[in-house]
């Protein structure tokens, strides 16, 4: 060949938006999966406030009595954890999407097309961020309906949403990798379940000071605790603790970077 045709190496932005469109369409067509990402945190919040809240509320806030006062205090306390729970739930769903695409042959089709390679996984990740934000708004709306009166101003609310979006983005890359690593769609839906345990093993539902030494050490050093504490401060409008905020952001960036690198290497791996 005398003239080498320069092929378009895809258009990253346009291709990612097309893949985002595909994923939002899928979310609309498969409302079961989307419903779960909103439904589970909502049920969890109702359960924890109305069943456990009366008793547990007295344990998380000094001077609060059991019953109605306890429920109100507990609603205050667990809202950040439920927000994170919604985020984790959304991220989990992208593992299933990635596994479905990889096993159905459509990912192979995309790989043989002249499109930006990053868009094939980037589209689902962005779609998940959108779904995660919908779930977070639903949870916060429910919290307000149940009587939560956050002191946060507009900036605080935006910061809560921004942090939630960032955490969803980071966890989604991790979950995409889990989905690609799974041999089947069933495995892909199970592996990220481990993540749902983390809000419980942190400061999400009870203060870490009440835990035995070993569990407490883990709770204080795991990634979700600084994220929960930062969200808590933002909602309460009490001003941020610098070290906690930095830890929250550092963990988020680290998880996102590791998840992205892992996803990328799995995407490039040959599938037989």
């Amino acid at each position: 060949m005398t003239a080498v045709a320069v092929a378009p190496a895809g258009r990253p932005l346009a291709d990612t938006l097309t893949m985002l469109r595909r994923n939002l369409l899928r979310a609309v067509r498969y409302p079961g999966l989307t419903g779960f990402t909103v439904g589970i945190p909502v049920v969890l919040m109702l359960l924890f406030v109305y069943v456990f809240g009366g008793a547990l509320g007295a344990g998380v806030a000094p001077g609060v009595t059991a019953g109605a006062q306890g429920r109100a205090a507990y609603l205050d306390y667990i809202t950040p954890a439920i927000v994170l729970f919604a985020v984790v739930g959304a991220a989990q769903s992208v593992a299933i999407t990635a596994a479905m695409d990889a096993t159905s042959g459509i990912m192979a089709r995309f790989k043989t097309m002249a499109i930006a390679p990053g868009s094939v996984l980037g589209g689902p990740v962005l779609g998940t961020v959108v779904q995660g934000l919908v779930a977070v708004v639903a949870v916060l709306g429910l919290a307000v309906a149940l009587g939560l009166r956050p002191a946060a101003g507009a900036g605080g609310w935006l910061a809560v949403a921004g942090l939630a979006a960032l955490v969803t983005f980071a966890l989604s890359w991790l979950c995409v990798a889990m989905g690609l690593a799974a041999r089947s769609v069933e495995t892909a839906s199970n592996t990220p379940m481990l993540l749902t345990a983390l809000p419980f093993l942190g400061s999400g539902f009870v203060p870490v000071e009440t835990m035995p030494a070993g569990v407490r050490w883990f709770a204080e050093h795991q990634p979700f605790t600084p994220v929960i504490e930062t969200t808590r401060s933002l909602l309460a409008g009490t001003g941020l603790d610098t070290s906690t905020t930095v830890q929250a952001l550092a963990w988020t960036v680290a998880i996102g970077a590791a998840g992205y690198a892992w996803s990328r290497s799995l995407y490039r791996r040959e599938r037989r």
Partner: protein, 257 residues
């Protein structure tokens, strides 16, 4: 110069661990023709298509598709090809129209052009009536047709079809043959794998028989039949791909006689 070869494979090798799948495959497909790749199960037909379509990396040899090297210029190869694999590559949750429009957008067609292209392909593959329903509700034959329609959205110059008619009823199979002939008449090059020798006989300008990791015969169906003094491609296939079984069978017949 090899510009008139749409597919030019020389000494292609591929192994998985100790297991050698392709051991020096040579294959030439002239532009604007249909070549059928035959071979027993596990002969490496799908692996060959995987390498030609940039999904798998070759371990050795040179592979050029549409004039571009698959290792050095995968993007240029991808821009020229269309692939229909064995596993149907359609999105079950979306409708037929949506599937085609998404692929059209990925080919960077404008909104209106994408819509027109999708509609034209739905018409051409007789999918208009079901176009608005999710693909999960479609029959296997319809999904296969949509799969091929999605492959053709970008008007590829080289098309790879991996067992395109497996599982299709005779009518759908004939319809697909018609599509293949129409594509070739329009200048497209096609490499297809098949288990149906009748299909190769009727459709292909050339047949390549893959066995033991090599192409053991290549030529037009008529050439192969006369070279092996066989009445059908079935006989050619049996003689070339499994001589031990055949001779054993012949021996035992002689013994009985």
């Amino acid at each position: 110069m090899t510009t008139d070869l749409a597919v030019d494979v020389r000494g292609l090798r591929k192994s998985y661990g100790d297991h050698s799948v392709l051991d020096g495959v040579d294959l030439a497909v002239p532009a604007g023709t249909v070549t059928a790749l035959l071979g027993p199960n596990g002969a490496g037909k799908t692996t060959t298509v995987g390498i030609l379509s940039t999904l798998l990396r070759p371990d050795g040899g040179t592979v050029r598709v549409a004039g571009h090297d698959v290792v050095a210029q995968p993007e240029a190869v991808r821009a020229a090809i269309g692939v229909t694999g064995q596993v149907s590559a359609v999105d079950d949750l979306l409708t037929g129209t949506e599937n085609l429009r998404i692929v059209a957008s990925l080919h960077h067609l404008g909104r209106r052009e994408a819509r027109e292209r999708a509609d034209a392909l739905l018409e051409r593959f007789d999918l208009v009536a079901a176009a608005g329903k999710p693909v999960s509700t479609w029959s296997g034959g319809m999904r296969r047709r949509l799969d091929l329609a999605m492959t053709l959205v970008g008007s590829p110059s080289v098309v790879f079809l991996d067992e395109p008619t497996t599982g299709l009823d005779p009518r759908s199979r004939r319809a697909l043959w018609g599509e293949v002939r129409a594509l070739v008449a329009g200048g497209t090059t096609i490499l297809l794998t098949t288990q149906y020798l009748e299909e190769a006989d009727r459709l292909a300008d050339a047949v390549a028989v893959l066995d033991g990791g090599r192409v053991v015969a290549q030529g037009s169906p008529a050439e192969l039949k006369s070279a092996h003094q066989a009445g059908s491609l079935d006989d050619v296939f049996l003689r070339l791909t499994d001589p031990s079984t055949l001779s054993t069978a012949e021996q035992s017949t002689e013994e009985v006689a």
